[in-house]
Structures are given as structure tokens and as C-alpha cells.
């Protein structure tokens, strides 16, 4: 034993006896571990920093309107008329519009997507699964402008002629369109969650004699509930934050539907107002500040709904696991006893609502069906109820595929005539009515890959930190709340933030790098959530086994936990790629020009981009119809190409997983 030095040393190691001053490998390893942990902690902080900056920037620019009009008057005023004299800034009508449209979208999307996810995960034959999953992710890659135009040209017309009303621009159109846009997110992540449920649960349930439907509904769905809720929250964020598509189909009339359930009335949402007025408003004016106040209110609504969802989820999970504590146990007792009367009350109110709302011809059949369902629910043989359930689920999958086919055929049929070698390799001429879109293709590729390169390390790092290095506590809750908040931020707010912060404040100017960072911020929440969910699904026994063998934490993560999680991470990346390629609002103010002579030669040059090109063609260049669809088709093909590579990589990793 060396008495001269005061350091802790292994007395038996020959190395420390010969070199008493060096660190042991154990200490070095520990330093490395700490360093890695700090790196991941910093990436997790990045999400908080981003949302903090965005909030600060929004609050700073919206302060004048709160000072002038007062928060109460702003929130409860029923007239939004900024160009009047005096101008009126009351956003109550807009809040109602947003809530109604998003609620409608969720009612439309959630049952459909969960049904479709169950179909893909459990019922589909292998060939159908291989086609369906990429096809649905393709839905995520359709640009929001294309959705908007599809809604404007096809959807509103269908609604107008079906219901025989003067115009089809209604709450219903907005909800259906937003629901369709949220579908791919919810389906993909739910399907991942359902298929990651351990096989033992399913096999155990089947072994004790449950039918497949009973296994799915009583065992698989509840255990995948965390992933499904994450999926629904992400989908909800997508729906509430969508700007371009919703402002084209809801009519933007600032009125509250009269009566409130009149789904055929035009409405106006907060994001629609932002999208429609932001570009023209005078900077620094009261109208400008009011629009930023809108964005703050929107974030507040997202925060409230996310918190409610998390509370409900925690409640459900506690009920499943039976792990109530203290106050929770008393509540559990109470609610347990109140359950039956509550359900009866709920049913009665639904019945009354239906009788009041719908005309008798619709109300009676609906009531008969509902009554039959309730009556027969427990009286049917399990086999029969399984068949009924499977019918509905297959129908859900068919409806989703039908939607995709309708959208695609619209783009393909109108866009195919525009495709030619010249279209793909030349610059636009005559305002885009002739020539090609080559620089826009290159610009989109640069933007998308830059965004993913920025978002992947931060996103995966943040998720690793949240899952692997910390326990559920206040810090992780705050990080998760801010990530959900970031997810619900409208795309146009990202664009404005990028403009004020990256373009003006950091003096990047309108440049490629500004666009990449803005897009990266926008897709960050999707990547974080998807990675989190896939990491959560790795059974704890794997980690414990690895640690028991003597591996360090980072070695465990790198070699044991990450590889099986890669398919889930790829799903998140794929969804993000599609979204980044198709969004207009974030790049509109930060990175794009409609035309320039040369291709960008450095990160500080502006670029052309396909969704923006499409947007300008569609809104301000008369007579460009063919090229408009041609651009949409090329964007779609580009997204398919990128997806193909990503999906190949994902299925490769999945095959390795299965062994």
C-alpha cells in the first residue's frame, strides 16, 4: 500500500504501483459516462430552450395589444374586425372556431386511426401490411397546400352538393380535412405501440381461452395505451397547428355556428386567422400585436389540452396497475361507486342530445342502433362480437386507403401531363407557367436533409436522456410538457419565430440554414416522442441483464437498447421527413425565394422549394394549373423516394430484430 499519495488506489493493481499518479480505467470510464450524460441532458434542454425562446418572442410582440385592450376583453370580445374604425380585437369567436374544428377532427380521426392501426398490427396479412404501412406514411408526405386545394376543389364541392347548401366551406370540411392530415401520425405511432406489446401478453391471453378480439380490446390496447395516447396527442398537435389547409376550407367567417352544433356553418380558427392575415399586416401595429396574442392563446389551449390528456392517461394507467397512493385511493373508491350512475347519466344525455339535434328521420335509426348495441353487447357470443368488431376494423382500414387513393388520383391525373424531362431539369419560366422546377427540387432536398440532420441528434438525445438517465419526476414532466407544447405550435408561428430570431436577430438573412433550423425545430417533437415510445417498449430485463454483465450505462444503451428501438425511431424520422418536405409556412419567411438565377452555393443563400413554388402558383399565378399539379406530383414522388430508402432501412433493422 502506497502511504505517500492520498488518492484512492487499488493496492493490488500492478499498474497503479508502477504509475501512482495516473487515473484508473474505472475513473476514466466514469468521467466518460458523466460527459455523455451531460451531452444528452443538454440536448434535452434544447427542446425547453426552443419553446422558451418562442414564448418569449411571442409575448414580447403581443404585449402592446394586451396593454391596450386588456386580456379579458381580448379573450371574450366577440368581434374580430381589425380594419374597422375603431378596430376591434375580440377573439372569443376564433377560440370557439378552433375548438370546434379540432374536436371534430379528433372525433373523425381517432376511431378511424385506432381501427386502422389494429388492422395493420393484428389482422392484416403480411402482404397487406407491407403495402399499408408505407402507404399511410405517404399520407403524411402530402404537402399541406395540396390538402388545402384538394379540400377547396373537391371536398367543399361534395359537401355543397350532398347537403344542398349554398357553400361547402364549413366546419365539417375543416374537420374532415384536419382529421385526414392527422391520420398518418396517429396510425403509425399507434401501430408501432401495438406491435411492440410483448408477445407473452398476447399468447397468455389466447392461452386462457380469450378470442382474438377480446385479446386485442382487453389486453393489447390497454398495454399499448401510453403509445396510443402519445400518438393521439401528436395527431392533435398536428390538427390544431395546421394553418394553410384549414384557412382554405373553413370559409373564415368570424361567426359562432348557430346553433352550436351546426356543422354546416362556416367558422374561423385561430391558425386560419394567423395564416390569412400575417403576411399583409403592418409590422409594429396593433393588428400585428393582436396576431401574436392569438398565437399565445393558441399555445395556452394546446397546453391545457395536453395536460388534461396526461392526467387522464395517468389515471387510466394507475387504475390498470392498481397503484393508487393516498388521495388517489380515496378518489378511486369514490369513482368506483359512482361509475354506474355516471354511465347511465352520460348515456341519457347523449340520447337527449341526439333527439334534440337531429331530425326525427335520423334520430330514430341512430337510437335504435345504439340501443341494440347496448342490449346485445353482453348477450352476443364472443365469436359473434369478434366478427362484428373485425368488420368495423377492416372497414376503418378500407376507408383510410380509400381516402389515400382519392387524394393521390386527384394529384396524379392532373399532374401527369405536366411531367417531362424538361420539367424536371430546367428552371421555371414565364412565372412558372412554363419551364421546369429543377431548382425547387434541389432546394427541397437541401432543406429536408438539413432539417433531419439538425433534429435527429437533438431529438434522439433528448429521448435517451428522458428515458434512460432519469426517473419520472418534475424535470422530466417539464421537459415532456414543453415538447408537447412545441408539437402544438402552429407551423406559421415557427416561420415567424425563424424570421424574427434567425433572420433578423442572428442576422442569418433569408437563408438555407435559417430554413433548416426552423424546419428542424418543427419536427423535433415528433422525433422525440417516437423515439421515447420505442425506447419505452424495450423490456427492462434487457437493460438489467446488460448492466449485470458489467456494461456501463452508455454501453447498454448503445449496444442493447438502441438497436431494437431503431425501427420506431425510423418511423418518427419518416413522418418528420414527410412533414418537413411539405410545409410552406415555416420556410415562407425564412429560406425561400420564388425565383433566383443560380442554385444556392452556400448555407447563407436562399433556396427555391417545391411547396412554396406550389403555393405561389396556386394563389397568385393565373393559368398555371397543369404545372401546379405537376409540382405537387413531383413533390410526392420525391417524398416517396426518400421514404423508400428510409423504409428499406427500417425493415432491415426489423428483420434483424426478429432474428
Amino acid at each position: 500500500m502506497d502511504l505517500n499519495t492520498g488518492t484512492k488506489q487499488d493496492p493490488l493493481s500492478p499498474r497503479t504501483r508502477r504509475f501512482p499518479q495516473t487515473h484508473t480505467t474505472a475513473q476514466l470510464r466514469e468521467r466518460k459516462e458523466k460527459a455523455i450524460k451531460t451531452v444528452w441532458f443538454l440536448t434535452a434542454l434544447s427542446a425547453i430552450l426552443a419553446i422558451l425562446f418562442i414564448l418569449l418572442f411571442l409575448l414580447r410582440d403581443s404585449l402592446p395589444i394586451f396593454q391596450q385592450v386588456g386580456i379579458e376583453q381580448f379573450l371574450s370580445g366577440t368581434t374580430w374586425y381589425p380594419s374597422g374604425s375603431p378596430p376591434e380585437y375580440g377573439i372569443f369567436v376564433l377560440i370557439v372556431g378552433t375548438v370546434l374544428v379540432t374536436l371534430g377532427a379528433m372525433v373523425f380521426a381517432v376511431p378511424l386511426s385506432i381501427g386502422c392501426a389494429i388492422y395493420i398490427a393484428e389482422l392484416a396479412p403480411l402482404w397487406a401490411k407491407n403495402i399499408l404501412k408505407p402507404a399511410i406514411e405517404l399520407l403524411a408526405g402530402i404537402p399541406s397546400v395540396v390538402y388545402g386545394f384538394f379540400g377547396l376543389i373537391v371536398l367543399t364541392d361534395v359537401i355543397r352538393t350532398t347537403f344542398d347548401i349554398p357553400t361547402g366551406e364549413t366546419w365539417l370540411a375543416g374537420s374532415i380535412l384536419l382529421g385526414i392530415m392527422a391520420l398518418p401520425t396517429i396510425i403509425s405511432i399507434s401501430e408501432d405501440a401495438i406491435s411492440m406489446v410483448p408477445k407473452e401478453y398476447k399468447e397468455g391471453s389466447l392461452a386462457i381461452g380469450a378470442t382474438r378480439w377480446q385479446t386485442i380490446s382487453q389486453v393489447l390496447i390497454p398495454s399499448a395505451l401510453s403509445g396510443i395516447t402519445a400518438a393521439v396527442i401528436l395527431g392533435f398537435g398536428r390538427a390544431i397547428g395546421e394553418t394553410m389547409a384549414v384557412l382554405m376550407v373553413t370559409g373564415n367567417a368570424a361567426i359562432i355556428p348557430d346553433p352550436i352544433w351546426n356543422i354546416l356553418s362556416p367558422v374561423r380558427t385561430l391558425t386560419g386567422t394567423l395564416g390569412i392575415e400575417m403576411g399583409e399586416v403592418a409590422v409594429g401595429s396593433d393588428h400585428y400585436a393582436a396576431l401574436f396574442g392569438l398565437a399565445v392563446v393558441l399555445l395556452a389551449i394546446t397546453l391545457i389540452i395536453n395536460t388534461v390528456a396526461v392526467v387522464i392517461l395517468t389515471n387510466i394507467r394507475q387504475r390498470q396497475a392498481g397503484s393508487y397512493s393516498g388521495k388517489g385511493a380515496i378518489m378511486q373508491n369514490l369513482t368506483g361507486r359512482l361509475r354506474r350512475p355516471l354511465i347511465i347519466c352520460g348515456l341519457l344525455s347523449v340520447v337527449t342530445a341526439i333527439i334534440v339535434i337531429a331530425p326525427l328521420t335520423i334520430a330514430l335509426p341512430v337510437l335504435v342502433v345504439l340501443g341494440a348495441a347496448y342490449f346485445f353487447k353482453d348477450r352476443l357470443k364472443p365469436h359473434t362480437s369478434e366478427q362484428v368488431a373485425f368488420c368495423f376494423i377492416t372497414a376503418a382500414a378500407i376507408i383510410v386507403v380509400l381516402i389515400l387513393v382519392i387524394l393521390l388520383q386527384d394529384i396524379v391525373i392532373h399532374g401527369l401531363p405536366a411531367l417531362s424531362w424538361e420539367f424536371l431539369t430546367q428552371s421555371p419560366k414565364d412565372l412558372g407557367r412554363a419551364g421546369g422546377i429543377f431548382p425547387a427540387i434541389v432546394g427541397t432536398l437541401y432543406l429536408v436533409f438539413g432539417a433531419i440532420l439538425f433534429a435527429l441528434p437533438f431529438g434522439v438525445g433528448a429521448a435517451i436522456y428522458l428515458i434512460e438517465y432519469t426517473k419520472e419526476g418534475n424535470v422530466t414532466r417539464i421537459i415532456r410538457t414543453t415538447v408537447d407544447l412545441l408539437n402544438g405550435t402552429p407551423s406559421i408561428v415557427f416561420g415567424l419565430f425563424g424570421l424574427a430570431f434567425l433572420v433578423y436577430f442572428l442576422k442569418f438573412g433569408v437563408s438555407l440554414i435559417a430554413g433548416q433550423i426552423t424546419l428542424g425545430l418543427m419536427v423535433l417533437p415528433t422525433i422525440i416522442r417516437a423515439t421515447e415510445e420505442s425506447l419505452k417498449n424495450i423490456p427492462q430485463s434487457l437493460r438489467e441483464g446488460s448492466l449485470a454483465l458489467g456494461a456501463t450505462r452508455w454501453q447498454t444503451i448503445y449496444r442493447v437498447v438502441l438497436p431494437p428501438a431503431i425501427p420506431g425511431i425510423m418511423t418518427g424520422t419518416i413522418l418528420s421527413l414527410g412533414r418537413a418536405a411539405g410545409e410552406t409556412a415555416p420556410i415562407m419567411f425564412t429560406a425561400v425565394v420564388f425565383s433566383q438565377r443560380y442554385l444556392p452555393s452556400s448555407l447563407t443563400d436562399p433556396v427555391m422549394a417545391l411547396p412554396y413554388h406550389l403555393y405561389i402558383l396556386a394563389t397568385n399565378v393565373p393559368g398555371s394549373s397543369t404545372n401546379k399539379y405537376g409540382t405537387a406530383l413531383v413533390l410526392l414522388l420525391l417524398v416517396i423516394g426518400i421514404y423508400a430508402v428510409a423504409i428499406m432501412m427500417r425493415s432491415h433493422f426489423q428483420k434483424k430484430l426478429r432474428g
Binding site: P166, E277, G279, V283, P622
Partner: protein, 300 residues
């Protein structure tokens, strides 16, 4: 070990393919662009952004200008009049396009902006082609937009076959220069009366045209350049139905059709160099011909 090798091989291959693809694409284009042109050191470039109404003029003029000046690089983007004024005020672009004049707050924030009028823009009242109306009184349009008239039966000469004749009122967003002109300007229609709350708001000329083309009972207002076969532009009369004036470029130029406004380009201080040449080109007879070809009204 084998599977690990094949994984890394696969990933590297995938990335390599992407990288090569990107480089090939970039390489091809740069070469194609640079052959036959002067070295990039001599290229001048300016950035133009702002109103999407002025964008077609700016774009076509830029194309014509760049065809005769191979060193010039004019980068054009949209974003809206407000964004255009902000960007020229903050000097992140060289020219800011706007379809409306500066507001008071913009004047105080950016006092050095110089206004250049580049074209005139007539605003036409349009309806669905199936509507049987042949001309409309300006006061009737004002009443429709104010919500006082709600059915086509109350407008003389108008009839929508196969519908209940309900009028669908289409307008622009409240920050639009077009709407501001329509709502408040002395030569506009509403002259200060607030439009009805049930007016549907669209964010661009293209969207208004599209909606009117597919909604039988609709009425709206668009730039003359956007009137095509899918909508019917109505001649307007004020006091005498026989003296209805059609919304054409000639009538705007002669003053017979007063519903028109000016389109602007702003520079921060007097323009110099390429910006000056470009604006002079737009104001020249060739440039004004380009504006006319896009459906706008020339100044000369």
C-alpha cells in the same frame, strides 16, 4: 459479427448512395449554369420580396431583364405586403413590393423608405358564370357586402337557376390591400361600412376565383388579371343602368372604371446599381408592356 458487418455495410451504402446522388445533382447543375456565362465574381444580385399581387410583374420583368443582362441575379419571393415593407425597412432585401401604401406605424418606424409606383391594378366584381345577371349597380354591391341584400331575387336582372338564390359573399382577409381598398377607399365600394360577418374570407386572388367558379351563388372581387373563363366579371353602373362600365384595362387607363389602385415598390433610400436599373426597366415602356401582359394596367 457477420450481421453487424452487414448492417454497417448496408447503412454506409445507403448514405453513400444519397451523398453521391446529392453531389451529382449539385455538380450537374452548377456546370450547366456556369457554361457560357461570366465568372460569378462579376454577378450582381438583389433581393425583392413582398406583396404577392405585385410578384407577377416583378417576376416577369426580372426574367426579361436577366435575359439581356447575364450578370444580374434578381431573387424574388412573396410573403405579403407587410412582410415586404418590414424586410425593406430592416434592409434584408433591396426592394420591397407592396399593394398598399405605408401605414402610420410603418412610416414612423422606417422613415427612409422611398415609394415607386410600378403599375395600376383594377378590381373587378365577379360572379359565377351561371348567374344570369348582366350588370350591377355599385350601391347594390355595397348593400350585398354590408349584409342588407341576401338573395339574388332582390337584385334586378340576377337569377341563379336551380338554387334558392341565396348570395354567398366572398371577400379577402382584413389585412389585404385589396380589401382595404374595397372597404374604405373613396373609389372603392363599401366606403367605410363594415362588411357582413358572414362574409367568407379568402387569402388570395386565386382562391377567390376558384371559390366563385365552383359556388353558384357567389359574388367576390379580384384583380382584373385574374378574371378568366371560369368567372363572370360584371360591368358596374352608378346612376344609369345603360352606362355600365366594363372592368377592362382600357377603361381603367381612361378613368372610366374608377375602381383601381396603385401598386408600389419601396427602396430604402434612393435606389442604386442593379436595383435602380431594375426599377427603371419596369417603369420603361417595355416593362409596362410586361405589366399589361400579366393583366395589370400600365401607368403610361
Amino acid at each position: 459479427m457477420n450481421s453487424k458487418l452487414s448492417t454497417s455495410l448496408f447503412v454506409t451504402l445507403g448514405l453513400l448512395v444519397l451523398l453521391i446522388g446529392a453531389m451529382a445533382v449539385a455538380g450537374c447543375t452548377d456546370n450547366a449554369k456556369k457554361t457560357g456565362e461570366l465568372p460569378p465574381l462579376q454577378k450582381q444580385s438583389i433581393k425583392v420580396s413582398g406583396s404577392t399581387t405585385v410578384l407577377p410583374i416583378a417576376q416577369k420583368a426580372a426574367e426579361a431583364y436577366m435575359a439581356t443582362h447575364p450578370n444580374a441575379d434578381i431573387q424574388i419571393s412573396g410573403g405579403g405586403s407587410g412582410v415586404g415593407v418590414q424586410q425593406i425597412g430592416e434592409k434584408t432585401v433591396d426592394i420591397g413590393m407592396s399593394s398598399r401604401d405605408l401605414k402610420a406605424t410603418e412610416n414612423t418606424k422606417y422613415p427612409d423608405l422611398i415609394k415607386h409606383i410600378v403599375a395600376k391594378d383594377g378590381i373587378a366584381i365577379v360572379v359565377n358564370p351561371k348567374n344570369e345577371i348582366k350588370g350591377i349597380q355599385a350601391a347594390a354591391v355595397a348593400d350585398i357586402y354590408a349584409g342588407k341584400i341576401t338573395s339574388w331575387t332582390q337584385v334586378p336582372g340576377a337569377h341563379m337557376p336551380d338554387t334558392n338564390n341565396q348570395i354567398v359573399v366572398i371577400g379577402r382577409d382584413s389585412a389585404s390591400g385589396t380589401r382595404e381598398f374595397f372597404d374604405t377607399h373613396a373609389n372603392g365600394i363599401l366606403k367605410g361600412t363594415p362588411p357582413t360577418k358572414s362574409m367568407l374570407e379568402k387569402n388570395s386572388n386565386g382562391a377567390v376565383t376558384q371559390t366563385i367558379a365552383q359556388t353558384p351563388g357567389a359574388i367576390g372581387y379580384v384583380s382584373i388579371g385574374f378574371v378568366d373563363k371560369s368567372v363572370k366579371a360584371l360591368p358596374i353602373w352608378w346612376n344609369d343602368p345603360s352606362k355600365a362600365v366594363e372592368p377592362t384595362k382600357e377603361n381603367v387607363l381612361s378613368g372610366a372604371y374608377p375602381i383601381n389602385r396603385e401598386l408600389f415598390m419601396f427602396t430604402n433610400g434612393q435606389p442604386t446599381g442593379l436595383a435602380k436599373d431594375y426599377i427603371d426597366f419596369i417603369l420603361s415602356p417595355d416593362g409596362q408592356k410586361i405589366a399589361v401582359s400579366e393583366g395589370y394596367v400600365s401607368l403610361i
